[in-house]
Amino acid sequence: MSELRELYQEVILDHGKSPRNFGKPPAVTGESHGHNPLCGDTITIYVDVANDVVTDIGFEGRGCAISMASASMMTEMLRGKSRDEVEAMFAEFHALVASTEPACEAGFETPDLDKLIVLAGVREFPMRVKCATLPWHTMKAALEGESEEITTE
C-alpha cells in the first residue's frame, strides 16, 4: 500500500466525511478550544464527566480529514472511560502517531485503541502529525478544565 493510501484509509475518509459525535452534548461539564494556527483549523471538545467517568463527549469545528477523523474516532472511544483510562490512552495514542518506534507490534494496553492504528499512517507525514494530535490535546484540556486555548504551536 502506498504511503498515501496508508494515510487516507477508508475508515479515516469515512470518519472525516461523516464525523461521529459531532455537536454539543446536552450536558457539558468541561469544554476546550483547540486551534492550529498554521492551517487555521479549529476544534471544540465538549465533555460531560460524572464520578471521574466520561459519560458523554462531542466536538465541533472544521479541519482536514485527518483531524476530523481523529476527533471522531477519539470521541467514539472515550465514552464510558475513567480519567485514568483516558490518560493512559492519550499516552498510547501519542506514541502511536508521533513515535519513530514500530507501530505497536506488542499491541495496546487499552484494547479499544487497536481501532486507532489506522491513524499510524500519519507518521510518514511529519507535517500532519499535529492534525491527528490536536483533538486529543484539546480533549485533555477539556477534562482538566483548562480555559486557555490549545494550539499546536
Binding site: 498515501l4 498554521l38 492551517c39 472544521r62 482536514c64 492534525c131
Partner: protein, 421 residues
C-alpha cells in the same frame, strides 16, 4: 552613481525572447526530485527559487569580497561597502526612485511596513486619524496598523471586496475622507492575484491629503514598478519573492518623508554622534539601518534584480498570462474545483478549493506527486472569512513555470479525487 542612460539600459534591455526552458536551466533546484517525482514548484508567491546568478553572486561575496561595511579602512571593507551601496543604487534604478537615499534596506516587506507604522505612524498619526486598508491585505499589512492603533488610537477602515475578489474603487473612494491620513494597500493580492489600481488609489488619496503605502511583496514580481510614475509615498518589497535571498527587503520612501521620520531601531551605523547625554542621528537611509545589515543579502538582491531586468517585461507578462489562462481553463474544467479570485487583469496566482476536501489533504497528496503548492489561509484570514472558508489551495507561477507544471497539478488533483472518491 549611474546616470540616466544607464537606468534605461538596466531596466528595459530585452536581451532575448522569453524562453521558459532556458530560464529553468538557470535554477539548479528545479532539477531535483521530490518523493521520486520531478519537482513541480508552484509556490513562488510564498518564496521564489533562486537562479545560479544569485547563488554565485552570494558565493563570490563570501569567497572574495566579504567584510563588514562602513568605517573599515581596509580594502575588503571598502569593497563590501561598495557592493552594499551599489545594491542600493541598483534598487533605486529598478524602481526609479529619485535618489538612493530613498532606498532603505530592511529584513523584508514585513519589516518595511512595521518601520513605517512605528516611525512615521508613531510620529504623525494620532487618535481618530484614519488608515485605510483593504480586505485583500496580508497579515503583514494589517497587524502593524493594529499595533499602532493600540498605541495611538488611530481608526482602521477596510475597503471591501466582491465575490470575484476585485478591488472596489468606488467603495474605496467612499471610505477616504478628511480624516484619512494614510492609505496602506497591497499592490497584488497574495491569495487571489487581484491587482489594485495603485495610480487611481493615489489620485484619490492625494485629493484627500492622505499618504499612500503600497505592500509590493507580490506586486514587484509581476510587473515593473516605477515609484515616481505611481507617485506612492512608500513602497515595500522583499528580495526572496523576487528570486533573491530571504532576509533582505526594501522600503522605498520619499526623501522628505524619510527625513522627517524618527529612528525605528537604535544602534550602530544609524548615528552621527553618541554621548551618554544625547545622540544625533544619521540622515536616511542610514538612520533606519541600525546594526550590521545582511551584506551578502544585498549582493544577492542586486544579482536578482539584474536577472529579472534581463527579461523583456512584456514577454514575462505574456508568459505569466498564458500560464494563468491555461491553469484557469484546466481547473475550471474540473467540476469539483471552485476558483477564488477572478478579477480582470489579475496576476498569475490561482486559489481554489475542491468540494469538501480540505486544502491540507490536497496539499499532502500533491506533495507526493512532487507538486509544491501552498495550502491554508495564506496569512490573509480576513479574506478567508470574507469567503467563509478555512483556506484554499494556491498555485502561484514564476518565470520558470510551464504548462507542463499545470498539467502535473491537474494530474495530482485527479489523484485527490481518486483517494477521496
Amino acid at each position: 552613481m549611474n546616470t540616466a542612460p544607464a537606468q534605461r539600459l538596466d531596466n528595459s534591455a530585452a536581451t532575448a525572447p522569453f524562453d521558459a526552458e532556458r530560464v529553468r536551466a538557470d535554477f539548479p533546484i528545479l532539477s531535483r526530485t521530490v518523493h521520486d517525482k520531478p519537482l513541480t514548484f508552484l509556490d513562488s508567491g510564498a518564496s521564489a527559487q533562486k537562479p545560479r546568478q544569485v547563488i554565485d553572486a552570494i558565493s563570490r561575496c563570501y569567497e572574495a569580497e566579504y567584510a563588514n561595511i562602513h568605517r573599515g579602512v581596509y580594502e575588503l571593507s571598502a569593497k563590501a561597502t561598495e557592493a552594499y551601496e551599489g545594491a542600493r543604487a541598483r534598487v533605486q534604478r529598478f524602481v526609479n526612485a529619485r535618489s538612493p537615499n530613498e532606498i532603505v534596506f530592511t529584513k523584508g516587506t514585513t519589516e518595511a511596513i512595521n518601520l513605517v507604522a512605528t516611525s512615521w505612524g508613531g510620529a504623525f498619526l494620532g487618535e481618530g486619524d484614519e488608515v485605510v486598508l483593504s480586505m485583500l491585505e496580508h497579515h503583514a499589512n494589517i497587524v502593524p496598523w493594529q499595533l499602532l492603533r493600540e498605541r495611538t488610537g488611530i481608526v482602521l477602515k477596510v475597503v471591501p471586496t466582491d465575490e470575484n475578489g476585485a478591488f472596489l474603487l468606488d467603495a474605496y473612494e467612499a471610505l477616504v475622507g478628511p480624516r484619512t491620513k494614510l492609505v496602506a494597500l497591497t499592490h497584488v493580492s497574495n491569495v487571489l492575484g487581484t491587482v489594485v489600481p495603485v495610480a487611481e488609489v493615489v489620485r484619490i488619496a492625494r485629493a484627500n491629503g492622505a499618504k499612500v503605502l503600497v505592500d509590493g511583496a507580490q506586486g514587484i514580481v509581476h510587473q515593473p514598478v516605477d515609484v515616481q510614475a505611481l507617485d506612492v509615498d512608500f513602497y515595500c518589497f522583499s528580495g526572496h519573492k523576487l528570486y533573491g535571498p530571504s532576509g533582505i527587503g526594501v522600503l522605498y520612501g520619499k526623501e522628505a518623508l524619510l527625513a522627517a521620520m524618527p529612528p525605528y531601531q537604535g544602534g550602530g551605523d544609524m548615528i552621527e554622534r553618541v554621548t551618554f547625554e544625547r545622540t544625533t542621528f544619521a540622515p536616511p537611509p542610514a538612520r533606519f539601518e541600525a546594526g550590521t545589515p545582511p551584506i551578502a543579502g544585498t549582493v544577492g538582491l542586486h544579482a536578482a534584480i539584474d536577472y529579472v531586468a534581463s527579461f523583456d517585461p512584456a514577454a514575462v507578462a505574456a508568459h505569466e498570462h498564458d500560464l494563468l489562462a491555461y491553469a484557469t481553463e484546466r481547473l475550471s474544467a474540473l467540476n469539483s474545483v471552485r476558483l477564488y479570485g477572478t478579477a480582470p487583469g489579475k496576476a498569475a496566482i490561482v486559489s481554489f478549493t475542491m468540494d469538501d476536501v480540505h486544502p491540507h489533504d490536497i496539499g499532502t497528496i500533491l506533495d507526493r506527486a512532487g507538486v509544491a503548492v501552498r495550502v491554508g489561509h495564506h496569512c490573509a484570514q480576513p479574506l478567508m472569512d470574507h469567503f467563509d472558508i478555512a483556506g484554499t489551495v494556491r498555485a502561484s507561477f514564476g518565470l520558470y513555470n510551464t504548462r507542463a507544471d499545470v498539467d502535473r497539478l491537474i494530474d495530482g488533483l485527479d489523484e485527490v479525487r481518486e483517494i477521496f472518491g
